[in-house]
């Protein structure tokens, strides 16, 4: 209570700046007067009496100091004084301040951006209850679909037979539908088909209405309910609560809107947000085909929660046992492959890649900040050295060392606070731009939350301490006498320079490492862009017009299949008739769009279609004649498929080189046969290899079937034309209105649609490129600062040298030799560490190879150019030394 009372009074005094000076002065006066009077009574002269009174009273100034210390808050007062002084000092050298601020702004800004993304992608758990206990089940290998785990019957078997999960839900994450609502235009949306217990398993509560539950499922097509995402509800239904209970059409089938998901729930995938959720039992209405009863349609992603006390290890063993059981029971369809558990959220297995990427970029960003700190430390140290006379004077006048260190640290903290604030603002703007840009594949909102601000602040203060300690240490260890004498003693001189040299060396090493990294990234990107994709997406457009009526595409409707083929033909002819279109074709799915998996191939004469008997599991595409040419896939030998290949003629196929080599080695593939989907099929052509699932894959076998001989289904039309996609959409709509009126047409350039696949390489290149640029800038400022400082310190010496007849090369070497040596040493260290960091880089960049001579050469050249550029100005200054002017000046 007493202490609090006192604190309050002091805070009040501090804030109101009320001073008891007057009161103390008066009290002292009256005290001295009384004492003097008494002394006079005791027989002293007036003068002596006053002197004795003063002696007895003590040092009035010291007492006044103590009095003031008791009165206000001396700590804060001194701090304020320091801050004011620091402001004055910083304002006096604006160039230094601006350089320091920009350096920090870049360093801290880069870190905050990286941390913001890291925070959003990795640190934020999914918005479901108990996210730590939510697992996604994946195959050990073989499966290449990004999300898919099992067929629906297999999922049911897993769900019923397991003893380790408290609950298991499944969903199909690639559902697409045309949404019709009242008389509004039909729009294309995508979402999830989920089991009834999905929402209950995740523990999500609806924002409006209700969710469907396991009890709503009563066999196929029994639950025509749809849950809308918050985004779709807001954009299409104007956040109207009245929509709940009304009926909308999904692919022409009526579904009742039962509820709206909360805005923070976007399914279990961070990069793929569904627009809607429908019960999986109604999937046929949406998909147009039945996968609930097929063990070969691997469509379901399985998620589940473990029972309390069960380890993931136990659960995996349990699942493996079930898989082995299933393989015995269904040898034709189930291969008994082991399963494993991952945490959902980052596109299945890409989690590790994304995690590795983000962590590596974080390390690099921290390195940038470290380089920035080294840079600032040497700048501050140089300044402290220049101010040594001032500091010495202050020590001599009785300022304590601690007080001076405090002053220097205050300056550092202020610079870093201002730089950090600027960095945060920059990062905030940048993240906002990132959120809006289409750079991100799928959707991801990077929000700047308290955690990001906290990290920004921590980095700011941390760096302030890092670069503030160097000059502070210097002052702490210096003697005022030496400093007053001006030129420091030679040994001291050397030692202080050694510290600064070390800082610059470290800075250059880090910068070289970063420049190397960014060069590696750029090389990787160039390679990725020129990697043999097997297709030529440039100048081609993808046209989506799903004309198959729902339900029409079921396998048994062969007559209908003919109709579909006829329509395909008509669309392709219409597309080709548009001026400017050079080629058109259709394919079931373009490469690298995920969700595909191998289809087993059996040798001719096989009677038992067990998976164990299959010889190959190639990716299978259905395509129209002309697709290969349109996509730019070269036909190496044989012929293209034609419309004359029908279900009544022999089944034909075009295979790729890898398929041919794996099956028949050097023997020509044309004329060879195998069994695919129950049909004896003859190879009529061999096409070049390509990438089918992702860029990193090894050559995979692939087979192209004529669409006129296979099950029908949605097709993507590929149109090669120089016209803009939007123009193309209008032209197609006009041309197709006769064949298929009111079909929603989406046109996208093929390159754009591949952007997602190239995203990691692009993001890595962008990130590393920016880091490299920042590093290069830091290297320039570091070398420039060092060289400029060197020259300005040694102006006098250089002047004398010139006066004594030194030649230009000698002056040059005296001026910039040191920074150049440091540049060389630092670069070498950086390059070596770059080579050792190749694993780190390999994780980030496709085909990264820091030992690549181009990269090494490029890094050396860059650093050399930077060094020359940075020391050019100081060197010129050194050469322009006018000895007579200089002598007069000093």
């Amino acid at each position: 209570m007493r202490a609090l009372n006192r604190l309050l009074t002091r805070v009040l005094n501090f804030t109101t700046r009320r001073r008891g000076d007057e009161r103390l002065r008066e009290e002292i006066e009256s005290h001295l007067a009384a004492q003097t009077e008494e002394n006079i009574h005791a027989g002293m002269t007036a003068k002596e009496a006053l002197r004795h009174a003063r002696l007895k009273f003590g040092a009035a100034e010291a007492i006044r100091e103590n009095y003031r210390a008791e009165e206000g808050m001396p700590f804060l007062e001194i701090l304020l004084q320091d801050v004011r002084h620091a402001f004055r000092v910083l304002r006096k050298s604006p160039a230094f301040t601006v350089v320091a601020l920009i350096t920090l702004m870049l360093g801290i800004g880069a870190n905050v951006v990286v941390f913001g993304v890291l925070n959003a992608v990795l640190l934020h758990p999914l918005d479901v209850s108990d996210p730590q206990n939510l697992y996604q089940i994946r195959h050990k290998t073989w499966m290449s679909g990004r999300l898919l785990t099992a067929s629906y019957p297999t999922f049911e078997d897993l769900r019923q037979r397991n003893t380790t999960f408290s609950g298991m839900a499944g969903f199909y994450g690639y559902s697409n539908a045309r949404l019709g609502w009242r008389s509004n235009a039909v729009i294309k949306i995508s979402g999830y088909e989920v089991t009834g217990n999905y929402f209950d398993l995740l523990g999500v509560q609806p924002e409006a209405g209700r969710f469907f539950h396991a009890t709503d499922e009563h066999g196929p097509d029994s639950a025509p309910y749809v849950v809308l995402s918050d985004a779709l509800w807001r954009s299409t239904f104007h956040a109207d609560r009245g929509v709940i209970g009304t009926t909308v059409e999904l692919n022409k089938h009526p579904f009742t809107v039962v509820g709206v998901a909360p805005p923070q729930f976007q399914g279990t995938e961070k990069f793929r947000w569904p627009d809607y959720w429908v019960p999986i039992v109604n999937e046929q209405q949406v998909e147009g085909s039945d996968y609930l009863h097929s063990r070969t349609s691997i469509a379901v992603t399985v998620i589940g929660r473990l029972k309390p006390g069960v380890t993931p290890q136990q659960a995996t063993e349990n699942l493996d046992a079930i898989a082995a059981q299933l393989a015995k029971e269904y040898p034709e369809t189930d291969d008994g492959q082991g399963l494993r558990l991952i945490h959902p959220g980052l596109r299945g297995d890409e989690g590790d890649v994304i995690r590795g990427f983000l962590l590596s970029v974080t390390v690099l960003a921290l390195l940038v900040l470290a380089a920035a700190c080294a840079n600032l430390a040497s700048l501050f140290a140089a300044r402290a050295a220049d101010r040594s006379r001032e500091l010495a004077l202050r020590v001599a006048l009785g300022s304590s060392r601690w007080r001076m260190v405090r002053q220097l640290l205050t300056e550092a903290v202020m610079v870093s606070l201002m730089g950090g604030a600027a960095g945060l603002v920059t990062a905030y703007l940048l993240l906002g731009a990132l959120n809006r840009s289409p750079l991100f594949v799928g959707q991801l909102t990077v929000s700047v939350d308290a955690r990001v601000y906290l990290v920004g602040l921590a980095l700011t203060l941390g760096s302030a301490l890092l670069f503030g300690m160097v000059p502070a240490r210097q002052v702490w260890h210096s003697s005022p006498l030496q400093m007053m004498k001006g030129e420091p003693v030679e040994s001291l001189h050397l030692r202080r320079f050694a510290l600064r040299d070390l800082l610059l060396c470290a800075q250059i090493a880090i910068c070289t490492l970063l420049v190397t990294a960014s060069l590696v990234a750029v090389r990787g990107m160039v390679r990725a862009l020129h990697a043999p994709l097997g297709i030529q997406p440039e100048g081609a457009m993808l046209v989506y017009l799903d004309m198959s009526e729902a339900g029409q595409a079921s396998a048994e409707a062969l007559e209908k299949n003919d109709a579909t083929v006829e329509r395909q033909k008509a669309v392709l002819e219409a597309a080709r008739s548009i001026p400017g279109v050079t080629a058109a074709g259709a394919v079931s799915q373009t490469p690298m769009t995920g969700g595909i998996h191998g289809t087993p191939v059996f040798p001719p004469g096989t009677t038992e279609f067990k998976l164990n008997n299959s010889v190959l599991a190639p990716y299978v595409y259905r395509m129209s004649p002309g697709y290969l040419a349109t996509a730019g896939i070269r036909l190496l030998s044989g012929r293209d498929v034609s419309w004359q290949d029908t279900t009544k003629t022999p089944y034909v196929v075009i295979v790729n080189e890898t398929f041919a080599r794996k099956m028949w080695g050097e023997t020509p593939a044309i004329g060879q046969r195998f069994i695919l989907s129950g049909h004896l099929t003859e190879v009529v052509g061999v096409a070049q290899d390509g990438k089918y699932h992702d860029l990193e894959e090894a050559p995979q076998p692939a087979a192209y079937l004529p669409s006129s001989q296979s099950e029908s289904g949605g097709m993507v039309f590929v149109v090669r034309s120089q016209r803009a996609p939007s123009e193309m959409a209008a032209a197609l709509e006009r041309t197709l209105s006769g064949i298929a009126p009111n079909v929603p047409i989406t046109v996208q350039s093929w390159s754009d649609s591949l952007a997602g696949e190239l995203f990691p390489a692009r993001a890595a290149t962008a990130a590393l490129g920016v880091m490299g640029m920042l590093a290069a800038m830091l290297a320039v400022t570091g070398i420039f600062g060092m060289a400029a400082y060197n020259v300005s310190r040694r102006m006098k010496e250089l002047g004398i040298r010139v006066a004594l007849g030194a030649r230009k090369p000698q002056v040059m070497s005296a001026a910039v030799r040191r920074p150049m040596v440091l540049l060389g040493v630092g670069s070498a260290v950086g390059l070596v560490s770059g080579v050792f960091a190749s694993r780190l880089l390999g994780q980030i960049v496709y085909q990264a190879n820091p030992q690549d001579p181009v990269v090494v050469g490029g890094a050396v050249l860059t650093m050399a150019l930077l060094g020359i550029a940075a020391s050019a100005i100081p060197a010129r200054r050194a050469l322009a030394v006018d000895p007579s002017a200089l002598m007069r000046e000093e």
Partner: protein
């Protein structure tokens, strides 16, 4: 050096409180003189050091002060003990006596007492 000063300050505050307790309202000079007299001129403290201590005690609410005329009609600031000050003095006194008693016992102890 610093430690010694702290102790002095603590004792000085106690002396000051006791003086005000015994003699009633006094001004700074008066307090200084009393302390000198009572301590038998053994304690040589700069009289000025009193004032920061007085300020602190006042901030803590142990004493209050107001201007008033001194014996020889000069304006002086008179300090007076408050209720809180009386309580504080009691507590401090007990503490001090306890400490003194403990120390005294240590001085009285002889080797044979501990055997």
């Amino acid at each position: 050096m610093k430690q010694k000063k702290d102790v002095q300050q603590g004792t000085l505050a106690l002396m000051l409180l006791k003086t005000l307790d015994v003699l009633g309202p006094l001004h700074g000079y008066g307090i200084a003189r009393r302390i000198e007299q009572i301590s038998g001129e053994l304690l040589s403290v700069n009289q000025g050091t009193l004032y920061p201590v007085l300020l602190r005690l006042e901030q803590e609410g142990a004493i209050t002060s107001e201007w008033g005329p001194s014996e020889n009609n000069r304006r002086a600031r008179f300090y007076r003990l408050t209720c809180a000050g009386h309580k504080l003095l009691e507590v401090e006194k007990r503490d001090w006596e306890q400490t003194a008693a403990i120390i005294a016992r240590f001085f009285e102890v002889k080797a044979k007492d501990l055997a």
